[in-house]
Symmetry: C2
Subunit: 107 residues, 2 copies
């Protein structure tokens, strides 16, 4: 049986590496906006499986990777489960009001 | 001499046609962010020629069209000059905080 490969470490951009353009681009997608809304509503870490989005698991993983690279979401691996949370404090520090404005949108 | 064709009317989306996703996508570009920052700083209408962006006039026109279609910018034709302004009140009504958060960004 094939040995399970070690998962690559999860890399997150530091505060000074996060750009507003990158954040806007990451948020400008209906699936990723849905993920961000769910993480904001949960106000806690959510495993990928707990996210309700109309796409396959590998597509969720792809979108979470884009959100992580932009500095919107943080990921944490625990055993075989990856937990995701919104970097709300970091985003509020860098771009005060932006995230709340996005979350306030009715559509 | 060729007769100058009448310019097509400038169409703007109504408030209920503006989506957060469309606004985010329109803002997620360095040139368009630059235009929005200048319109916000001017706090008045600016003719296309008054905008300082490192692209050709036709590219500015293209970016302004994207910003208009998303509901971010309003255009007004006066003779041969097109004036542009930020739809700040409309955006603040729909997505309170979003625009200020974007404008607060240092990068």
């Amino acid at each position: 049986m094939a040995k399970t490969a070690a998962l690559p470490p999860i890399v997150h951009p530091e505060l000074d590496e996060i750009t507003v353009e990158g954040v806007l681009r990451a948020l400008a997608d209906p699936v990723r906006l849905g993920i961000v809304r769910q993480l904001a509503a949960a106000d806690c870490e959510l495993a990928c499986g707990a996210l309700t989005v109309p796409v396959t698991k590998s597509t969720i993983t792809h979108h979470l990777s884009i959100l992580r690279q932009a500095g919107v979401v943080a990921g944490r691996q625990e055993g075989t489960t990856r937990y995701n949370s919104l970097r709300r404090n970091d985003l509020d520090t860098l771009f005060p009001g932006l995230l709340n404005g996005v979350l306030a949108a009715q559509r």
